[in-house]
Symmetry: C2
Subunit: 324 residues, 2 copies
Amino acid sequence: MDEFDLIDRLIAPLATAPGAQGLGNDGATIAPGPGCELVITKDMMAENVHFLADDPPDLIGRKLLRVNLSDLAAMGASPVGYLLGLASDGQRDETWFRAFFRGLHQDQEQFGVSLLGGDTIASPNGVLTLSLTAFGEVPVRQSLSRSTAQPDDLVAVTGTIGDAALGLQAIRGELAELDESKRMFLSDRYRLPQPRTVLGPALVGLAHAALDVSDGLIADAGHLASRSRLAVNLDWTKIPLSDAGRTALNRDSGLKSVVLGGGDDYELLFTFAPANLDQVEAVAFECGVTVTVIGACTIGAGAHVFATNGQEIGLQEDGWRHKS
Amino acid sequence: MDEFDLIDRLIAPLATAPGAQGLGNDGATIAPGPGCELVITKDMMAENVHFLADDPPDLIGRKLLRVNLSDLAAMGASPVGYLLGLASDGQRDETWFRAFFRGLHQDQEQFGVSLLGGDTIASPNGVLTLSLTAFGEVPVRQSLSRSTAQPDDLVAVTGTIGDAALGLQAIRGELAELDESKRMFLSDRYRLPQPRTVLGPALVGLAHAALDVSDGLIADAGHLASRSRLAVNLDWTKIPLSDAGRTALNRDSGLKSVVLGGGDDYELLFTFAPANLDQVEAVAFECGVTVTVIGACTIGAGAHVFATNGQEIGLQEDGWRHKS
């Protein structure tokens, strides 16, 4: 398949924004709305690392877009558009690309964004490598940061935690003791994250700090703690689990390490003043997103998870478990 | 080498703009200056296709940045910053990366841009794949386009044409009849393009259409012709050649096809009203860039090159030559 054929036939119809200029120029134009600035982010995905050759191509495209939209949401930005980079090893046929771009088109409609441009290159000795740059807008100097949490802030998280990491296990043939519907639920959570693109912007001016849970709950809480120079203390019993996640944990308590340490949930982790709890709950309700308070910030350092008995659950060489 | 070590030690010092937020957040912020909008562009490069494993790493980094800055210049935008994507196959050591980022740092200084963020991924089964998204600013709705040339416009080009394609031949051990200084000159022109970042913005409001010569003079003149729905007629004798290029052509007239068909020069090709010739020449002089009028637009279609005798030089199966 000729690269330029591919661009003309499958990519160009996605470039609906005027600034894309029909993909006819060397670049595109974009401007934030009045009183706004742009948030920009770029995430890459490579075959065999972030997806497998036989993964459904539409879900690969949608996940690529969604992990970037999640970064925008974490900074409080409403999504606007994106640039796509595609390095192809020439191993895929037109059917594969049709499905890939159909997935992107579906998510463009869902999230109200447009392709603005990009680049397609042949890389015969490489593997399929994808790069996406996403653009969002946020009121000037109001973007959310992971470095501005305050001591005594409450810490909350959207949705449920651990599903994606458990889903990856299910895809690999583990968790065979779960029924198929639960394994499907978990693997869908891995393959198709739900970026919180409505709640993120609604938290601007309300949350003190935010980031998305991509590296894992403990790791990302740790990023927030170190950047904000305080301690993040989480209550294990409050961490929201899906039915499937809870069932898996009830059968194998060792999966606690997967829930706390696994990544790819793309939920928002954010902090806010305790006095604003009602307002946060009202905003979350309006946005149709479940928000759960799972802990608080204190003076100190690091991210810590405590069990019911007050003992800290920590990372040992063999995984997450109670610290002795 | 650990990816995050690499980021902290080599990439973070490049993130000098406030909007990069010290690379601490999920994205960066950027806003165009008053009266301006942003031009965005993204070009990728892969090992074995756009560069070779033993190419000097600083030049790989600089070329990656410069080809994107050239796209900005072609749209009349002044460069501001960039996002970097790096998919590493783990085959390079710290020395390689130090040189790569030193090259980027050098060009950041030269072109007044800052790293704003990006992504680094491990792709052990792939090849080194680079993606760069560049940001520039241009007065609102004034960006240059390849689709707005007018019949009777003059067509001009910056610098000299064909050097990069001849340089690639020199790198491959061809052109052995040239002396070493000429081969070095040509290969440098291939490895380190000179994006016209000052002239491009100076042509805003003056040029009718512009693009950069990346696919080759004839191909890019053809893009301009088809997007602007007119014919671009070029005079072979006026096409500016470097000393080295002219020497090579004098020895082998068959290299005409390389000069006309080869890519990677990253000069600007632009059109303007004949009445503005003096002003274009004055602006080019102020910017320190040589500009040569090489032809004109007419009603019609396609890009055409004519020899002294009025015959059209065209592409045959065996390369560019006089059409019979």
